[in-house]
């Protein structure tokens, strides 16, 4: 019911658009009405990849053009109808998406954008070379409907409107599912998404396949509408730019963006072209360019977000101040005198001879240790001792040069982070990696998908993890508004939501005040009591002595000492590593 109601605005807009279509008789304006929808669909297709994952594609014309050429060639050589060819173009677009995505997703940021630029342009030259400089779709006078050749141009607009509605529904379905959450998480922080158990490559491939399929369909339809296909008109850079422009103008990462962008920009450019094009060629380009520049300078994230922020600001109720925080916060009792638990459980994680070098720097050398089930292992060491590198090796961000990481007796070397997450290894980061635009609840939900079969279960796991981390009172806040302590706890909750058996905590106490650190320590202790095995990195020893069952001291990438807390704090080599030779010597004498 709620989904139906939220569809209201879209259906209303579609109805109005259909009504306008029926009234307009001028065939040029009629074509413009069709093209608005074509570019809106193309913008939505671009948005599914670039808007949600943040990987900018300059090359969407590749899919568009393949669809257009498939349709033109199919009709010319095989006498197929567009009713068949458009679905075929969907398949071709989707396949092209996977083929292009597989190698190209190895790249990030600007490199990805530029590599994408090359595909349509290479295709452009190939199609020119093949001799398809200009293809004209054969006119079928006898059976126009079967070949989508309507005498009434309004029919094209109606077909396009139906296509657009389907694509809007798809986009919304994506937006609300784990697919959309995965893409948003990738956009905001790919490493964190991977560590939270999201198979980033898989979801990116899904996204480019879907995006390519839609672009292929709309390219095919474009060929049907215009009846003429040339390489520059479907593979050209301006085609790719069109997708970018309408989406960015309207707003990225929302269904509405491309719709708004196309509805404003396409008519403006067509009208300018019709009215002034003959007298001053190029004037529409100039005005169009100026309009884009003006909007971007005033609303750099697109019109939709600007209007929404403005609207929210005007209509936002005064934030209700809730002073009833304390009851949700984890009841904090000063850490009880540590009951040292005997470290006897079965071995959960066993690290043997792990080494990693960066060039000449031996970041981790020949490190071996065991983690028993239910224990808290503290890894300490001065800055640069190789602690974070060790974690990156343990959860798959880095591949060791040598050594084994055995989880439950299975060697996990070479597995990707999300696979380790599935196997039960959760982690937090030294430099916090929240998904800043998502609420605390959604942030944590991303971590829950790895264990959840359904949306509901994911939400339940997430709420549970939020409560265990003591964050229920801020669950609806956006991550960007949290304090450092809350962010640390949120990362903890996100890792917890995946029900890890082993939790790797990277300097979870860093940057916290004394009281705050105690609160986080209390949460960690409680988790340990609940049966989660924990490995925690710190470079301050204070808080750790109370917390851990066993210490591993690293220095210059190698294990310095491996032992009980009391024993370790008195060890002269540890004191030396921390405080320098002189102090170590003095202490040993005392």
């Amino acid at each position: 019911m709620q989904t139906l109601r939220s569809l209201g605005p879209i259906l209303l807009a579609a109805a109005i658009y259909a009504a306008i279509t029926l009234v307009v008789t001028n065939s040029y304006y009629q074509l413009t009405l069709t093209l608005v929808l074509v570019w809106a669909i193309f913008g939505l297709s671009w948005n599914i990849l670039s808007g949600y994952t943040g990987l900018v594609s300059f090359g969407h014309a590749a899919f568009f053009g393949l669809g257009a050429y498939a349709t033109a060639l199919g009709q010319i050589y095989f006498d197929l109808s567009p009713w068949v060819l458009i679905p075929i173009s969907v398949v071709i677009g989707g396949l092209a998406g996977v083929l292009i995505g597989l190698p190209t997703f190895r790249l990030r940021g600007h490199y990805f954008a530029l590599a994408m630029l090359a595909y349509p342009l290479a295709l452009l030259y190939v199609f020119e070379w093949l001799g398809y400089q200009e293809l004209t779709l054969p006119i079928k006078r006898e059976t126009p409907f079967a070949y989508m050749q309507f005498s009434d141009p309004r029919m094209y607009t109606m077909v396009a409107l139906v296509m657009l509605l389907v694509v809007v529904l798809i986009t919304r379905a994506v937006e609300r599912s784990r697919f959309g959450m995965a893409l948003l998480a990738i956009k905001q922080n790919e490493a964190a998404a991977e560590a939270a158990g999201i198979n980033t490559l898989y979801w990116k491939l899904c996204s480019i396949a879907l995006s390519g399929a839609i672009a292929g369909a709309v390219g095919a339809f474009y060929a049907v509408v215009l009846l003429v296909v040339t390489p520059p008109s479907v593979f050209g850079m301006l085609v790719s730019a069109q997708a970018l422009t309408v989406s960015m103008f309207g707003g990225i990462g929302t269904v509405w963006g491309p719709l708004i962008g196309a509805a404003v920009l396409i008519p403006v450019s067509e009208v300018l072209h019709a009215e002034l094009g003959a007298k001053i060629p190029g004037i529409q380009g100039v005005i169009f360019g100026l309009a884009i520049m003006a909007v971007i300078l005033m609303a750099p994230e697109g019109v939709y977000w600007k209007v929404r922020d403005w609207w929210r600001k005007r209509h936002a109720p005064a934030p209700a101040i809730t002073p009833t925080l304390p009851e949700h916060v984890v009841p904090f009792s000063p850490a009880p005198a540590r009951q040292r638990r005997p470290v006897t459980g079965p071995v959960l994680l066993s690290v043997k001879g792990l080494s990693k070098s960066f060039g000449g720097l031996k970041a981790v050398q020949d490190v071996s240790f065991d983690v028993h089930e239910g224990m808290i292992l503290g890894i300490i060491g001065p800055n640069g001792a190789g602690k974070t590198t060790l974690f990156n090796l343990l959860n798959g961000f880095l591949k060791p040069d040598a050594g084994e990481v055995m989880l439950d007796g299975k060697n996990m070397v070479g597995r990707r982070p999300h696979e380790l997450c599935v196997a039960g290894v959760g982690r937090t980061f030294q430099v916090m990696r929240p998904f800043p635009r998502m609420s605390v609840r959604d942030n944590v939900r991303v971590g829950a998908y790895v264990r959840a079969a359904s949306e509901e279960e994911a939400q339940r796991l997430a709420d549970d993890a939020v409560a265990r981390a003591g964050l229920s009172s801020v669950a609806h806040k956006v991550a960007a508004e949290l304090t450092t302590k809350e962010l640390r706890l949120m990362e903890l909750a996100r890792a917890l939501a995946g029900k890890p058996r082993l939790l790797l905590l990277d300097e979870t106490l860093a940057g916290l005040g004394h009281g705050e650190a105690d609160e986080v320590v209390a949460v960690v202790q409680r988790l340990a009591r609940e049966g989660v095995t924990i490995v925690i990195i710190e470079h301050t020893m204070q808080a750790m002595v109370r917390l851990v069952d066993h210490f591993l001291v690293l220095d210059h990438g190698a294990v310095l000492v491996d032992g009980e807390p009391e024993e370790v704090t008195r060890n002269p080599r540890v004191i030396e590593a921390y405080l320098g030779k002189k102090w170590g010597a003095a202490h040993a004498r005392a």
Partner: protein, 318 residues
Amino acid sequence: MTSQFVENMLQALAAGILAGAIYGLMCVGLGLIFGVMRVINFAQGDFMMLGMYAAYYLFLSFGIQALFGNVIGPYVAILLATPLLFLFGYFIHKFLISRVTGQRTVQLEGEGHFAQLILTLGVALVLQNGGLIVFGSVLASIRTPLSSSAWELGPFWGDYVSIFVNKSRGIAALFSVVAMVGLWLLIARTRLGKALRASADNPVAATYMGINIDRSYRIAFGLGAAVTAMAGGLLATNYPFHPYIGIEYVIVMYAGVVLGGMGSITGAFWGGMTIGLVQQLSTLVLPTQLQNAAIFVVFLLIIFLRPQGFFGRMVERT
């Protein structure tokens, strides 16, 4: 192996080096902007187009042709056009680009990359179409008598093989190399160059060291525009051009810069050189229409095999 084949190959090699030198210079201009500021500038090709027309009008309408004649005149015009384009780039950055780059964009989606892209796309549209209005759609060219004469290298291999080097292209290539070396000295040896490199490497740290990074960015943008414009002027002495020519070269430029490795000026030059060589050598085995497709294939191959480019290095931290 026939001497004909050797001759063709050497000829293609020479043509590739000559074209590559100009492409290299073009790429260096983009490399400055892309490398220092990490801004994808779609209007770079149109800056080049402006450089072509600036040289063209300076040559024909401002008495340079009369004063220096047809042989030296074009090069004087190119040298004069370069500072004009520096100012153009400088102010484009000051009034437009600076609003979507730098510190203030950190809180934006994708650190403002989306906004930068679309802004420069807007600039490109205005320049192309404005160019069409102002300059007209007729092909223009800067004619020099040198473009119809050549030096003959050789004959080698007895009397069989000799290579012809078009004088105007040869001079343009030399010009490019000299400009490139000058720019390298500027970046490597001067205080300004140090400030630019520091701003590129770590903008925040550069600010703490008292470097005005906004100024560095403006200068980098201006220099980038000027250098590409100079390459454009040199190209204009060999090939006819029109207001939409920018788009044809913007891809070549990005390919070159990525090949060379972002942030490396010399790398960008060799990247452009590679593109020139690939383009010309591919004519030996491929039909001419696929010349440009060959560039993209090589571009993609290198991006996959060595995304940090020939000269770049990649640093990634978790």
